[in-house]
């Protein structure tokens, strides 16, 4: 099993390494814009739960970015599958479905982590000091685990690359805006809050923010993220079979 995971992961990393010089600017541009726009234009004088808007926003951006970057592995998988036909090489090889999913999920998590480093550096440049401790990293890992697993599952069932970008606009973009990233969801009407509490990203931003701001962390969010991640991962494993035609 390990061999297969390494092969899949190693391939994604080789590709990522080739693209890193282009990736880093693309990872930094949107957080940079959010930080400038929100902090200077909107956030001036705004205070949330005793923290400046910047201190509130950066953990939200981190949650969002770890989600989108982990999920971005879906596009990589689809390009390899529909455009380069490389997925056939994996299908024909004697690796298990778990190895395949494991390798891709790890690759998605790695991308997410690297993109977060960029935001942490930007936050530092903007003069925001947060607590990046163990609880923070665990929440981050769980969040990227959830969305990388979801990405692999969906990448296996879509029939074309166009379907994939539709999923992005229906799942990822709404969640990115509503999942407690830019504003606290307890300011919304209670029905909306209840709905948003069903989204994994809401729990991830809560957990990441609490960890960053030295607030008490909710174990429930961690357990929930882990459970959702395991669920998505096992769905992904089952979906690999579906990719056969």
């Amino acid at each position: 099993m390990i061999h297969g995971i390494i092969a899949i992961y190693f391939r994604e990393m080789l590709i990522l390494r080739r693209r890193l010089t282009r990736q880093i600017p693309s990872w930094s541009i949107s957080p940079f814009l959010y930080l400038t726009a929100f902090s200077y234009a909107v956030g001036h004088g705004v205070e949330i739960e005793g923290h400046t808007y910047m201190e509130f926003l950066i953990p939200g951006l981190i949650a969002m970015s770890s989600m989108t970057q982990a999920f971005a592995i879906a596009s990589e998988i689809n390009i390899a599958r529909f455009y380069w036909h490389i997925f056939e090489e994996f299908q024909a090889s004697p690796i298990s479905k778990v190895s395949y999913v494991g390798g891709e999920v790890l690759a998605g998590m790695t991308r997410a982590m690297l993109s977060i480093l960029v935001i942490m550096a930007l936050g530092f440049l903007f003069g925001v000091r947060l607590n990046y401790g163990l609880a923070f990293f665990i929440a981050l890992l769980l969040n990227s685990f959830v969305f990388a697993s979801l990405a692999v599952a969906l990448a296996m069932v879509v029939k074309s690359h166009a379907d994939q970008s539709m999923l992005n606009s229906f799942i990822i973009t709404p969640m990115a805006f509503l999942g407690g990233t830019f504003f606290p969801i307890d300011r919304l009407p209670s029905w909306a809050g209840a709905f948003l509490n069903l989204l994994p990203l809401t729990h991830a931003s809560k957990a990441i923010r609490a960890a960053c701001l030295n607030q008490p962390v909710s174990i429930f969010s961690y357990v929930l993220l882990f459970a959702i991640g395991v669920l998505f991962f096992s769905v992904a494993v089952r979906c690999v079979e579906k990719a056969k035609d």
Binding site: H3, G4, E88, A92, D245
Partner: protein
């Protein structure tokens, strides 16, 4: 090559070509099978029985299309087996099912005695696949593509690097080892795919249209490579719609037409069934081909006729057209 001319001349030219490209047979390196003998007998044959690929009553239906309508094939160890058929006959579908990329609707397939659905891992270790579409990582180097393959097949790092050098030398790509795949030509990419498929020392090599889109010189180079691989002991299953490719390479040929095997034999036997000589002549509604046992018969036939005609040896294309009932218009 003079296609309508004497096929024997074509053949001998190609053989010269083969010798020219060097039949260096690094035999042992390419069939170093260290498979454990197993006693599972899902396919009712012992591991030493003389069938390398066994396909029984294979059926594949897509929603509206019946791609395969009950295919039976037995491929012997060490032979080059050509699977010949027009576009859409079901060649790729068969290979995809045999290599685990597509789910069969029904039927069973065994490779070296391992059932491809029940003993997936073992079956997959038995073969290497060169698919119809190029499926290399274009951004990565030749070497990186091969290393990833080695890991997928649980090879040891030391084994991977020594095999890579040997195989790149074998397919004459050693100097491209560190080049990005996207900088290679189409023929080089094909040869790289062949090297990759051989990396783990498979017993069977599947080649789906190995020479499609290549110029005649490169095609012959690939042919020579295929023959060279066969002399190393590897069984080769190749699909093609180039009849002369099957005629030159194959020990046995299966004609596939609309999902059915309409004939299966050696090229010589398939041609013999028609006769040895053929006359193509113009008739009212197109072309007609008449077959004869001897050249004398053919010449005698022609003295009776006055139209334009061509006298030539029977080739595999005749056998194919005869069997599929398609007339050349």
């Amino acid at each position: 090559m003079d296609k309508k001319g004497n096929p024997q001349i074509d053949l001998s030219q190609s053989v010269d070509f083969l010798v020219f490209w060097g039949l260096k047979t690094d035999v042992k390196a390419f069939c170093n099978q260290n498979r454990r003998e197993k006693t599972v007998q899902l396919c009712n044959l012992s591991r030493t029985e003389k069938t390398m690929i066994r396909v029984n009553n294979l059926i594949k239906n897509y929603k509206k299309v019946e791609a395969l309508a009950g295919v039976d094939i037995h491929v012997k160890p060490g032979e080059i087996f050509a699977y010949l058929g027009p576009n859409g006959a079901g060649k790729t579908t068969t290979i995809r099912i045999l290599t685990g990329l597509t789910q069969a609707s029904s039927g069973s397939c065994c490779i070296n005695g391992f059932n491809i659905e029940k003993e997936v891992r073992q079956a997959k270790q038995q073969y290497g696949l060169v698919p119809q579409a190029i499926n290399l990582d274009q951004e990565l180097t030749v070497q990186e593509n091969l290393i990833i393959h080695g890991w997928l097949y649980r090879m040891k790092s030391s084994e991977i690097s020594s095999r890579i050098d040997a195989l790149l030398d074998y397919v004459e790509l050693l100097e491209k080892k560190k080049s990005q795949v996207k900088t290679l030509s189409g023929g080089m990419k094909r040869r790289l795919m062949v090297a990759r498929a051989l990396l783990h020392g498979p017993k069977v090599l599947f080649l789906d249209e190995p020479t499609v889109g290549l110029d005649p010189a490169i095609r012959r180079k690939i042919w020579a490579l295929i023959k060279k691989i066969q002399t190393g002991g590897t069984t080769i299953f190749l699909t093609t719609h180039y009849i002369e490719e099957a005629e030159f390479l194959a020990d046995r040929v299966a004609f596939l037409d609309q999902g059915r095997v309409v004939a299966l034999d050696s090229p010589e036997r398939l041609m013999e069934s028609l006769g040895a000589w053929a006359i193509d002549r113009l008739v009212e509604d197109g072309m007609e081909t008449v077959y004869f046992k001897t050249r004398n018969d053919a010449e005698r036939f022609n003295t009776l006729k006055s139209e334009q005609y061509t006298l030539r040896r029977v080739n595999l294309e005749d056998a194919f057209l005869d069997l599929t009932g398609k007339k050349v218009k």
